[in-house]
Amino acid sequence: MVSMQKPLPEPTPETQEYWDGMKRHELRIQRCNDCNQGYFYPRPFCPRPGCHSRNVAWITASGKGTLASYVIAHRGHPAFEAPYVIALVDLQEGGRMMTNIVGLDEPTPEALPVGAPVEIVFEDINDQVTLPKFRLA
């Protein structure tokens, strides 16, 4: 069953730095020192086929990216007020993450061209959790 409360994440050892960064309003992601690209979500090795290096490091990303794809949910999670945008964002430093696009009066396909530049908005949920949302830049 889908809960009436908004689902919240719980960090694991390999994602703790990411979620700690969120609380500081910093987008901490990992970058591969061999293929020189950022990736997401956090794990202690590069997930790119052909690389898989374990020589990786944490960086603070700019929070800028582009809209890769999205849906406008009209019948989604009951704790979310419809319509809302579930989006994938390609980060400038590399890596793709899911988010919500916020700051729109009424989400429409016309207002949300794929490829549009977006930037991060840190949304403090409670003392433990800050979520990365994005708005059109």
Binding site: V2, K6, P7, L8, P9, E10, P11, T12, P13, E14, T15, W19, F40, Y41, R43, P44, F45, C46, P47, R48, P49, G50, H52, R54, A68, S69, Y70, V71, I72, A73, H74, R75, G76, H77, P78, A79, F80, P83, Y84, I86, L88, R96, M97, M98, T99, N100, P109, L112, P113, V114, G115, V129, L131
Partner: protein
């Protein structure tokens, strides 16, 4: 009948290792335990992840996502503690058959510390629980649908194209008395049905039904002794890539179908696409058959929408697809693939409700999850 003794000495274990420590490991998530054991075994064998083309384990697609691999043989058999013995057994057969060359089997379990255990959406520590659930995904309509806008932007695929898939499929359902939805529909009807998750309207989404199906398979030498005309498995392909839609390799193509399952199935069957008379493309949503058609190579990338809009898949079209009425109009219990195979068998036996003349081959193609897993079968009656 095949004799398992023929497989003797054909396959060997070339790497074996445990995690660095065993015992109480609260600083490792369950996935990390899998990965640490995997890297240790790879080191033991002098291999890298890129040498691996088969994977077995009870964590399934979650583990292939985590490791970033796209195997061409998988065994997700999950039957409790003996599962890993079974994985080895399956791997021997798969390797001897040439489905893959190098299989990785992993086990990782945070059984005591319970770090990173549990499945999405219940598990707040899983990748899906951390990086997708907080943004309001709520099942297939808001997950499977996420790539579509990228396809529309890249290729000009339209809501009308998506609607045409539903219309063509309904034309088959009109001919099938067992289909749940049999009233004719138009593109306008689809576009006027309520929005579920733009760009998907209600009539772009599969049904939710009850039902079941079963298959019995046997060896070729016995097959002719049964009452019904044999339907042979001519080719097969399988893969898994991601569990979470945000980890899909390319939002505009069904990569595993294009690069692994389609080519593998066709190569095994010794057939080209021009030899395929009939197809069943699992239609969870209207875009799924478009992605399948393009990935398998029936059309070029981006030509799938217009191809369906020309009613090529409908009765009288160039390639009959989803002739039972599909998941969109026939039935969809949740794991519809069984019904796709059943219809292919009926067509090849000549006993389908909407029988197509002269079907000698049928291609059955299906996703698991949201393009997460992929499988292709080529079946034939000669």
């Amino acid at each position: 009948m095949f004799d398992s003794r023929e497989l003797r000495h054909k396959v060997a274990i070339v790497g074996a290792a445990e995690t660095n420590e065993v015992g109480v490991l609260p600083n490792h998530s369950q996935l990390q335990l899998h990965a640490e054991a995997a890297f240790n075994a790879l080191d033991d064998a002098g291999l890298t992840l890129d040498d691996i083309d088969g994977y077995a384990g009870v964590a399934g697609a979650g583990m292939t996502e985590y490791l970033g691999i796209m195997p061409r043989w998988v065994d997700g058999t999950s039957v409790g503690g003996c599962s890993f013995l079974i994985h080895v057994s399956h791997a021997v057969a798969a390797i001897a058959a040439g489905y893959c060359s190098t299989v990785l089997i992993t086990h990782g379990e945070s059984g005591r510390s319970r770090v990173g255990t549990g499945g999405f959406p219940g598990g707040r520590q899983t990748p899906g629980g951390q990086f997708e659930a907080p943004f309001g995904v709520a099942g297939p309509p808001t997950m499977f649908s996420v790539p579509i806008a990228a396809h529309m932007a890249k290729y000009g695929t339209t809501e009308e194209h998506l609607a045409a898939v539903s219309v063509a499929t309904r034309q088959w359902a009109e001919r099938n008395p067992r289909a749940m939805m049999r009233d004719p529909i138009t593109v306008e009807d689809v576009l006027n049905s309520r929005l579920i998750a733009w760009p998907l309207h209600l009539l772009n989404c599969c049904l939710v039904t009850d039902g079941g199906g079963a298959l019995i398979l046997t060896s070729e030498d016995r097959a002719k002794d049964f009452p019904k005309k044999p339907v042979y498995v001519l080719g097969r392909g399988e893969s898994t890539m991601h569990q979470n839609i945000s980890s899909m390799a390319d939002l505009t193509e069904w990569t595993a179908a294009a690069k692994v399952t389609g080519p593998d199935a066709l190569r095994m069957a010794g057939l080209g696409l021009e030899d395929i008379n009939h197809a069943m493309f699992y239609d969870a949503f209207s875009h799924t058959p478009i992605y399948a058609l393009e990935a398998l190579g029936f059309v070029k990338p981006g030509e799938g929408g217009p191809w369906f809009a020309e009613m090529n898949s409908a009765p009288g079209g160039t390639l009959p697809i989803n002739t039972n009425g599909g998941g969109l109009s026939y039935t969809h219990t949740g794991m519809y693939g069984m019904f796709a195979i059943q219809e292919a068998v009926r067509q090849l036996r000549g006993e389908a409700a909407a029988q197509v003349d002269g079907v000698k081959t049928s291609l059955v193609h299906a996703p698991g999850g949201w393009f997460s897993a992929t499988a292709t079968l080529i079946l034939g009656n000669e």
